[in-house]
Amino acid sequence: MGFLTKQKSANNRRTDPLMLLFYILSLVLLLFVFVVIANMIIGQVMTDLSGLVDAASSKPVLKSIFLSLYAGFLATMISLLLGVPTAYILARKNFTGKRFVESMLDVPVVIPHTVAGIALLTVFGANGLLGAPLQPYIQFRDAMPGIVVAMLFVSAPYLTNSAREGFKNVDPKLENVARSLGAPLWKTFAIVTLPLASRHLLIGSIMCWARAISEFGAVVMIAYYPMIGPTLIYDRYLSQGLSASRPIAVLLILVTLVIFITVRILSAGWRVYDKD
């Protein structure tokens, strides 16, 4: 009996009908996502490459994409400043009401985007709780600070959650040992804890940045101008139609995908210091 016959007899079992159905359904989902994204990008490149080139050299377009990236960057920096200490406390300390605090910090993830916009306006608008007293010094409506505040609100939870996971993976015994070797808390945090949680911090920062760039609803309500990328796409679509806004969308998605692929590569490769 040759090897080929054996191979055959081993494989005469058919794929189970349920698995076949599952393969088909999952293919539908995959194709849905893939076609929607690929169709836009390929359609643009195939049918209207010049439009893409024009958009890529148009000053308002580049300005809006840069504004998206820059405001998202600022929101991420503030998220780091506030989210890292919060994450460290949540990872290390137990206190009554901890679950409430965790829940509260997660609320922006599930809140409808225009609701977040309204809520931010109530606080940061010209007549708002903070907006009014701050009026002489800082303007939120239709200004950069408003964009950053809106992005911060929706994106900070992503950083906080990732950082908390990272700090939880750092064995507190390592911190104890560092303390007993003479390191005060801040040195322990800087030399032991932060480096060991750095992968989670970096991934969290990039997720936070991506989420900040993706936001439209909350930003558009507090600041239609200056226009961020998503707002410009919406504006062009309303005023000039699909073919005028699509090149900008393609440019923005390419930027986003680069960020996203970076996260994927980082989260797959960089596992050296993980506990498990």
Partner: protein, 347 residues
């Protein structure tokens, strides 16, 4: 001197209830107790990683209860070694000096030589064996010249061979430096071999404090007696050793063991009571060790009788009830004990 007064602390499932202890300078002090007794928590309180709910800790004359760990100058060794995984061995060892602003690669080299890890300095903890990690962690702690060394089950994660060598390292560190050592373990043999004094800890309380002989031979109550068990551990000196057979001098009596130790060493011979045969007359057999002794204790334990025989040193042995009857074993009688050289584990 370390003085602990009325220390209280609850933490998760553990609870320390009014711990009082005094440990002399240069003492090797072992806290022995079963898992879950709160031994590690006590050690972490002494190091200052947690605050007690009540009570005080003095080092020398100073009340350190409120001091953060970095101001106590205490070396701490966790069971899992807790090397910094993002630093190589050299960086780990230098950590304490770096915190003090000292740059001194000679000290690192000296201590690495002392612990025989000079060739590992560039390696990261993930690539080191348990015993190697243990020695790097020891070097990291010793380099800061701590006043006190706290050891949390330092041998329990090691394989038996490495346990033996690490035990010797701990002994020589203690005798070379005259450090005060507090060593936490659940292993009686370890405690007996290393300790100047032992504290038995159970269920968050210190139950008995004393020298190894006091604790093992005169346990304060049934619980302690049951916990410290009846393993025979005999201290002796190797007189000759060849072809894997060693002769040990146990307080004047010679004992033969299958072991690769070196003549002149001080060692401990461990022997399980069920491997000791009792008889009434001397015999010739492959049991290399045969001694006459006086039967000083008998206790029935189910189908077995535990007997204690004084033959220069004290030995615990198990015999069946029938044997005890047929041999006519009686308190005060002279009996012959024998055991095989291969039944002796030398550490």
């Amino acid at each position: 001197m370390i003085k602990i007064k009325e220390l209280h602390r609850r933490w998760k499932e553990f609870r320390l209830a009014g711990i009082d202890l005094e440990i002399a300078d240069g003492e090797y002090f072992v806290i022995l107790g079963p898992t879950g007794a709160g031994k590690t928590l006590l050690l972490e309180l002494i190091a200052g990683f947690y605050r007690p709910d009540g009570g005080d800790i003095y080092i020398g004359d100073k009340n350190v209860t409120g001091l953060p760990p970095e101001k106590r100058n205490i070396g701490f060794l966790y069971q899992d070694y807790s090397l910094f995984p993002h630093m190589n061995a050299a960086k780990n060892i230098e950590f304490g000096m770096r915190m003090r602003g000292i740059k001194d690669s000679d000290t690192v080299k000296k201590i690495a030589g002392y612990l025989n890890i000079g060739h590992l300095l560039h390696r990261y903890s993930q690539t080191l064996s348990g015993g190697e990690q243990q020695r790097v962690a020891l070097a990291r702690v010793l380099v800061i010249n701590p006043d006190i060394l706290l050891l949390d089950e330092p041998l329990s994660a090691l394989d038996p061979g490495t346990q033996d060598s690490t035990r010797n390292i701990l002994k020589s560190i203690h005798s070379d430096s005259n450090l005060t050592v507090i060593h936490v373990t659940h292993d009686q043999t370890e405690a007996r071999i290393l300790a100047d004094r032992i504290a038995i800890m159970m269920d968050g309380r210190i139950v008995q404090v004393g020298t190894p002989d006091e604790v093992f031979d005169r346990p304060i109550n049934d619980e302690v007696a049951h916990f410290v068990g009846v393993e025979n551990v005999l201290k002796g000196k190797v007189t000759t050793s060849s072809n894997g057979i060693s002769m040990l001098d146990i307080g004047g009596t010679m004992l033969e063991a299958v072991s690769e130790c070196v003549a002149g060493d001080t060692v401990y011979a461990c022997l399980r009571p069920e491997n000791i045969t009792l008889g009434t007359t001397g015999i010739k057999s492959s049991a290399r060790n045969t001694y006459e002794g006086r039967l000083v204790e008998m206790e029935r334990m189910g189908a077995l009788v535990r007997v204690k025989v004084d033959c220069g040193f004290l030995l615990n042995a198990f015999v069946t009830n029938q044997s005890a009857g047929e041999l006519g074993l009686m308190y005060g009688e002279t009996v012959v004990v024998s055991f095989k050289a291969s039944a002796v584990h030398v550490v």
